[in-house]
Symmetry: C2
Subunit: 462 residues, 2 copies
């Protein structure tokens, strides 16, 4: 779109060189992690305060300019692409940890603080922020996407760890979604409404988060299984008996081979669970003993244990490089990650189904999953130029989503809807999608907040 000259001039006056229309900056904010087509904004603004965001959003409302918040650009479904152009709000200068309250086990940060920066800041407090989606995402972005990752099985997702939010509404007004009490029944739960709204209802500028005490003891392990079904059944059994695992991650044999090739590791090329236990020394011992029994019942062998931080880092290296390792199997490849999440009893069947879909797929692919939540990804290394490969992967994704929905699961456990999952929204939600859209229309009547995300293009017409 063409930005109004007055709009450009006003933003330039307000922000100085923190407002740019340079091609390089626009292309750097096109939201292109993964397989989606890059869609650059027409300009980039870098606010430093909630008040500035309010002023900018107010101008966008006046000039009818779409506005898209942007963190570290690590989202995977085109969530932060400028699908209708307009203004990108790069939040990364809003990177102050505003307050840490050890006595309340919480903290307040600006939206542009990354999870690693927060944990660095907390390192002498005995507290930590557990949600770990892999990428060093901003906490605003993680909130907007309702992200989770490896530790959600123990500590919950962003939905469980956000206490309240400061939001700039589409007309520039600033609200706080809740008080800082750990529970409340004072009216509608706006905190959860904005968590996962992907910037379509307003801009998150500050986030108040629950913190957790660092566990007294941490033990990590990996364990190999004869096939995907055994591994996922072991995971599902551990959850069913209530084992309070801190992490339980599955990597399939092909993924382990890719990791070995990338990182010079020599992990056995087998279906593998990576585990972590948090608790007191005695509590961790109990959990370990219980898990070893479960694993043995499902053919698990080759336990490798790590207790020191250095050993743990080495053991988890395989898991952490899984996405990159999958892409590096092929020069010039781009990632396409599926993201179904199903009730835990349905997980083994769904992983088995995915494995069969991949049997004669020529595109390199790994299965990796937060199996304690019933959530797993197939990561494909696609040739971005090949329409055939895109079509093939889209068909496999469709089939996985269809299976997940048939099991009362969801098309996206943690990546959000963005552009990529819009086509499944009506099947997943039925008439509830209209309720979501009525909320969207009530709060953003001109449709300027991250347009074309979450809702299928034909939604507004219904």
């Amino acid at each position: 779109m063409t930005l109004a000259p007055d709009f450009i001039q006003l933003l330039g006056t307000l922000l100085g060189d923190r407002f740019t229309q340079s091609l390089a900056d626009r292309e750097a904010h096109a939201g292109t992690e993964a397989h989606h087509v890059p869609m650059p904004p027409d300009a980039v603004a870098r606010p430093v305060s909630t008040e500035e965001v309010s002023q900018i959003v107010n101008l966008c409302a006046f000039y009818g300019t779409p506005v898209v918040a942007y963190g570290n650009g690590s989202s995977l479904e085109g969530n932060a692409t400028a699908a209708e152009g307009g203004l990108c709000l790069d939040m990364t200068l809003m990177n102050r940890v505003l307050e840490v309250r050890p006595g309340d086990l919480d903290c307040t940060v600006e939206a542009g603080v990354t999870r690693e920066a927060l944990n660095d800041h907390l390192r002498h407090t005995g507290l930590f922020f557990p949600v770990d989606p892999g990428a060093n995402a901003t906490l605003g972005g993680m909130t907007a996407t309702r992200a989770s990752g490896t530790t959600a099985v123990r500590y919950g997702t962003m939905a469980d760890n956000v206490i309240c939010l400061t939001i700039v509404l589409p007309d520039g007004q600033v609200i706080r979604t809740a008080r800082r009490a750990r529970k409340s029944s004072a009216g509608y739960d706006l905190t959860h409404l904005f968590t996962g709204s992907e910037g379509t209802l307003g801009i998150i500028t500050e986030v108040t988060l629950r913190l957790h005490g660092r566990p007294e003891a941490v033990r990590s392990a990996r364990c190999i299984f004869p096939d995907p079904l055994s591994a996922s059944e072991a995971a599902s059994t551990a959850i069913q008996i209530g084992l309070p695992l801190a992490r339980i991650e599955y990597l399939d044999a092909g993924c382990i081979r890719a990791v070995n090739a990338l990182s010079g590791l020599s992990e056995p090329p087998a279906d593998t669970l990576f585990l972590e236990f948090h608790g007191s020394e005695a509590g961790v011992d109990e959990q370990v003993a219980l898990f070893e029994e479960i694993a043995a019942e499902h053919g698990g062998t080759g336990f490798r244990w790590a207790a020191t931080e250095a050993e743990r880092a080495k053991l988890w290296a395989a898991r952490h490089s899984a996405y990159t390792a999958t892409l590096r199997q092929r020069a010039g490849a781009r990632g396409w990650a599926t993201d179904v999440c199903v009730p835990i009893s349905a997980l083994p069947g769904c992983i088995d189904h995915a494995k069969r879909l991949l049997a004669d797929c020529p595109v390199p692919a790994s299965i990796m999953g937060h199996v304690g939540d019933g959530n797993f990804h197939v990561v494909f290394a696609i040739d971005p130029e090949s329409e055939d490969e895109r079509a093939l992967v889209a068909r496999i994704n469709d089939s996985m989503v269809e299976r997940a929905l048939a099991c009362d699961g969801t098309c996206t456990g943690e990546h959000g809807v963005g552009l990529g999952k819009r086509k499944y929204m009506r099947r997943e939600h039925g008439a509830a999608l209209e309720v979501m859209h009525r909320i969207k229309a009530a709060l953003d009547p001109y449709g300027l907040m991250n347009p074309r995300k979450i809702f299928p293009d034909d939604q507004a017409a219904r």
Copy 2:
């Protein structure tokens, strides 16, 4: 209001004797637990299925009749009064446990199932539903009020334990708010929006709930303290070090005296914490040892431990009769329970402040609290005929709420807004209240769903 003759005839045809206009039935559904003025509906309907609720609500929409869902009538803020008359939907015939899925640690119940009925149903499964607000409320009502209670410190509130809901919208349409996967980032979080919406956005007809494994070991205890400050500081310290208490409840000395008088117990008349620990045998031992250290540092003495179920029941009898015992101090009294919830570091100061407010209050009153959440109640036994007493208690409540809001707390931790807390909504939420009201107007444009609740009467005019 006068119900349209056609409306009456159609409901009679649909429901037979499950539709009544008898005075006795209307008065039995006036929502009069606690101090609010009874407001009977004009008629009572007893649906037996989601489909019937849909048909009834559709008729209400057509005839412009207000509709108020009703569970066991145990809410405390006039949440289920028929403030504009109309139809009461008594949900108690929808009392089937539809499915228990041990492999997914969840179940689906109709809204009229009570929490005790659910736990009876689960007794041979090794699972239980933990949320315990005291009263044997229906699970639909608990969801609508975002209830919590004694175990929220460990297991969370209804917000943490509802997986998805079936809702009849104001036009009669039926939606499901989410899939059954344990996490999802597929669009707006309607589950949390309807949880705590007090029937103002639609009628909850089915609830899918998380279940928890029964702990291997349970140990209960009570411990007495020299004053309220020591007791609440011990509670707050236990939370700050991350002790995973299953329950930690405070009763002040006056409350213990009332309990002794009612129940013939001989508990020491002192500020008391009642505790419960869940875990493995070894885990519970660790927790107990840690808590004993904390209590000793704050002058706690007189530990009494209970390990068997019978001993535990006896020990908890004091806590469970606290509300009744407070009212029984005075013939003909009615209850008025305050409900602030504050960040845990602010709790000791707020309890101390409440204690000072009560120092020269002639109305019998007890302090009791879910102190692990920062939530406590003053229960007053008011003379319902005395306007002076109502005015005095209202002033004390105002002062407690003011203090809680100044600490970034909330006016209601778990009782909901209903009629009683509407006057605090604007101060608690500021401009966010307008956002809530825009959602209300978008989903219930004719304002027929539990009218006059949550929002101050002047809200619609703004």
